[in-house]
Amino acid sequence: MKSLDARGWTALALILLLVAVPPLARTFDQNFYLLLFTRVVIMTTAAISLNLILGYGGMVSFGHAMYVGIGAYAVGISSFHGLNDGWAQMALAMAVAAVAALAIGAMSLRTKGVYFIMITLAFAQMIYFVAVGLSRYGGDDGLTVKRRSDFGLFGLKDPAVLYYVALAVMLAALWLSWRMVNSRFGLVLRGAKSNDRRMAAIGFATYRYRLAGFVVAGTMCAVAGVLLANFSDFVSPATMHWTRSGDLIVMVVLGGMGSLFGPLFGTVAFLLLEEVLSGITEAWQIIFGPLLLALVLYARGGIDGLLAKRTERGDG
């Protein structure tokens, strides 16, 4: 095995810390941190999925929170109808997300740049308003999830169990994205981002690969949505508001686009900063905004880039 660099050590330390959150929270009687980190871990999965297409594939999808919403509503609606089987809910969430991503991707991936951003945003807004219009399921106000998902061997009622499930999902997503970005498929995605014209010249029609990446990312993100609905015992259109999609992009950019651990770094930093700053002042975004800007301007590779400075090359 290669020796770890600064970013590898940071990631390892962070993951060990994440594993230790529930016992630490219990020891110090700080349940609040368990909840905070549950959210961190769930959103990291969402950010990992976005990083696949945004970071590695160069597809700036401005509607990614939609898939979180799809996953959350899959839980909300099925539990409303008395179906609480977690596996079935998971399968439903992933299937709907995959179909949505396939349809949206098929149309939007024919465009580039700003058009792509606008089209993905437009579709996400459409789905958002569909959710608002679901008056039976609470419409704008959302819908309470009365019973959490039941996975047979385990339920998600115990906060520590939910946390570890979310952490396991996050680690699985991390593993999958690591394998994928270094696979033949992943190299095609990277190539398409780097130089699509050359890709065509050497014989790649990249559209179907980018579409496949888009579908994988959306499907993975829906899993985060399933967990989020269980975590908050509630789903509402706000989950897929366009500002939530913006947050996801910020997490990925902040952490370092197209780096394996970037989404983890970015999500941890984003949610902790949000927590700390909003404790100081209501107008925390006034501090957060410039901070982000500074990082993006001075550290183009995000947090991962800062950590990697000392050690040249060798990502993923």
């Binding site: 033949r184 065509a200 014989g203 790649f204």
Partner: protein, 252 residues
């Protein structure tokens, strides 16, 4: 004589009011190095782009190995055996040299819906990639990022990317662009080595290279082929001298 490998028949490409390719006809025979020369803006790059499938011709026909490919998109033409290099270097700048070439190998090794296996340890990609790098003189540079190569090395990688697809016809758009005399001379030697294995259309301003490598030359002016012939014929052609080779050469 054998069938031409590539036949271009009254090809037309217009950019607004400008006719960049003007009823151009051209035949490339198997095994030859066919140079295309002409002044700046004559339409050489535009022609290459149409043969490679990047630009759609407005009229006319392109036949390759007996098949009409006029409407095929670029990736499909690559799979028929066409490969091009770019006048303005166009690489995967953020990837290593070996990754660059391995990707070109991968494009011709079945589909790429393989999600889990590590492509960087895939001998089916890496071995041919290294072999191609050795052929263009970049064997030692495999692990360097493409962006970190010198200009001359980037030009070598340009050709490596095209060669890695194992083409039947190689379209080279000014392979010596921006090279010093010494580098050019070495590139000529490399191309000499390659020419026995693949048919080449060579666009080049460097006349030493053209006369050293070409079996036949077509002279392009304002999108039209004003002459085609063996190097000695082209050298003697008065119209060509006037239009392209310039007075000093005409006088000498």
């Amino acid at each position: 004589m054998a069938e031409p490998l590539l036949t271009i028949d009254r090809l037309v490409k217009r950019f607004g009011g400008l006719t960049a390719t003007d009823h151009l006809s051209l035949e490339v025979m198997p095994g030859e190095v066919h140079a295309v020369i002409g002044p700046n803006g004559a339409g050489k790059t535009t022609l290459i782009a149409q043969i490679a499938g990047e630009l759609r011709a407005d009229a006319g026909e392109i036949r390759f190995a007996g098949e009409d490919i006029t409407r095929l998109p670029a990736p499909a033409r690559s799979h028929r055996g066409l490969a091009r290099s770019f006048q303005v270097t166009s690489l995967f700048a953020d990837m290593t040299v070996e990754d660059n070439v391995a990707l070109a190998v991968q494009a011709h090794d079945g589909h790429s819906f393989r999600f889990l296996a590590d492509a960087r340890r895939d001998a089916r990609l890496r071995d041919p990639a290294r072999a191609v790098l050795a052929r263009v003189g970049l064997a030692e540079r495999g692990q360097v990022r493409a962006a970190a190569l010198s200009h001359g090395e980037q030009r070598q990688l340009e050709i490596a990317l095209a060669l890695a697809t194992r083409p039947r016809l190689l379209l080279l758009d000014e392979p010596m662009a921006g090279m010093g005399a010494e580098e050019s001379a070495r590139m000529i030697e490399r191309l000499r080595g390659i020419k026995s294995q693949v048919t080449i259309v060579l666009v080049e301003h460097d006349m030493d290279a053209v006369f050293a490598l070409a079996d036949r030359i077509t002279v392009l002016v304002y999108g039209r082929a004003i002459a085609t012939g063996r190097p000695d014929e082209i050298r003697r052609n008065a119209q060509v001298r006037e239009a392209y080779l310039g007075d000093e050469q005409a006088a000498s």
